[in-house]
Structure formats: C-alpha cells, structure tokens
Symmetry: C2
Subunit: 116 residues, 2 copies
C-alpha cells in the first residue's frame, strides 16, 4: 500500500482533492506517509503542512472536513487523487475551490467570491 | 502573469490536467516557466520532464496532445489546473487517465485496461 507510493525527497506526495458529486477539483495539497495512513484509518483527508511542518486533518479547526470516498494512485506512483465529499468550502479563503483565479489573456481574474 | 506563479525551489509548478467534457482528472505533471509560456503561446499543454530535464509538448511524439481551454491558478499561486481537450489517451500506458489504480482495502487495484 504505502510502499507503492513514491514520496519525493522531502517525504511528501501531492494529493488532488476532487468533489465526487460535481467533479470540481477543489485543491491540491501534500501528504507524508503518516497523513496517508491517517486518511486511510479515519476516512477523512489528512495532509502535511509544509509551512507548519506538521500533519493535520483538513477541517480540524474550520470544520470543513473532507470525507474520502475513493483514492487513486497514478501510473508512476507519485501523485494521489482523492474523490471526496466536502463539508463547507475547501479553500481557506472561504471559496468552494482553491482554483478561483482564471487566466484571461495576460491576467489572472478572480472568478469566484468567498462564501458568506 | 508568470510572476503570480510560485515556482518551487527547482523552478517548477505542478499542473493538473482535467478533461473539460467529462471532468475526469487525467494526469498531473510539472511545468517550468518556459513550459507555461509555451502553453500560453500555443494553446497546447507543455510540461517539464524531470527525468529528461527538458521542456516538452505533451503528445509531441505520441500525437496525444492536450488542447488547453482554460487555466486556473490556486489561492497560494503554487498549483495550476488546466481544463483540456485530450486527443487519445493521456497516460503513457495507453489509458485514458494516469489515475487507474484504485485503493481497495490494503491494495491498489488496476481498474482500467490500456486502450487497444
């Protein structure tokens, strides 16, 4: 299981979180081995924060948890895809998805406002 | 445009390619600044190969090109999401998506066979 995953030199693997119902890609974050184990053990997405240098459960403070329904590993074993059920907004800016800046010509345009 | 993107210490940014029509996540690869520029200039996805240490156009040898319809940048500017129109299979294993190994209990199960 874990030994099929190729972690990078920092011991991390990128994980893409996709809303199972809408198909929208909500965020990309990093997992260390412990975060993968905790995700499997609890059924809720755990990541590794590179800035805080610790493993955390998504939504542990905000309540915006991610129930993991399916997990996929890519061909070369170095990226995970999680199909999830998202509670509340996925983004810390209070938007549904972290991918809210769209390239329009030579600019990035904010296409989505924070939820109230 | 480019200076809103946070490239990592290796000068790369992860890019997720999602099929615009089906919503399926097809692959995750890396771009350097030149690959981003070439993607914008040509309308076709260009990536940076870490193993070959060069920038390349997806499909340049296989013909399995990715026409880029929309590009999004995430909240902290360090991940790109490309909505694409994929010609042929996205995966080098000849599967539609690179994410063809699903976690089932303690194993990764191949859920998709290569296209003929």
């Amino acid at each position: 299981m874990l030994n099929s995953i190729t972690f990078n030199e920092a011991g991390l693997v990128p994980a893409i979180a996709q809303d199972q119902t809408t198909g929208r890609v909500l965020m990309m974050a990093w997992m260390n081995a412990e975060a993968v184990e905790q995700t499997l053990a609890t059924g809720y997405a755990h990541y590794y924060s590179r800035s805080r240098q610790k493993q955390w459960m998504k939504g542990e403070s905000s309540g915006h948890v991610q129930k993991v329904l399916e997990i996929y590993l890519d061909c070369d074993g170095d990226t995970l895809l999680l199909k999830i059920e998202q509670t509340g907004p996925a983004c810390h800016t209070n938007r549904a998805s972290c991918f809210y800046k769209q390239q329009i010509e030579n600019d990035w345009i904010t296409i989505e406002e924070p939820l109230q």
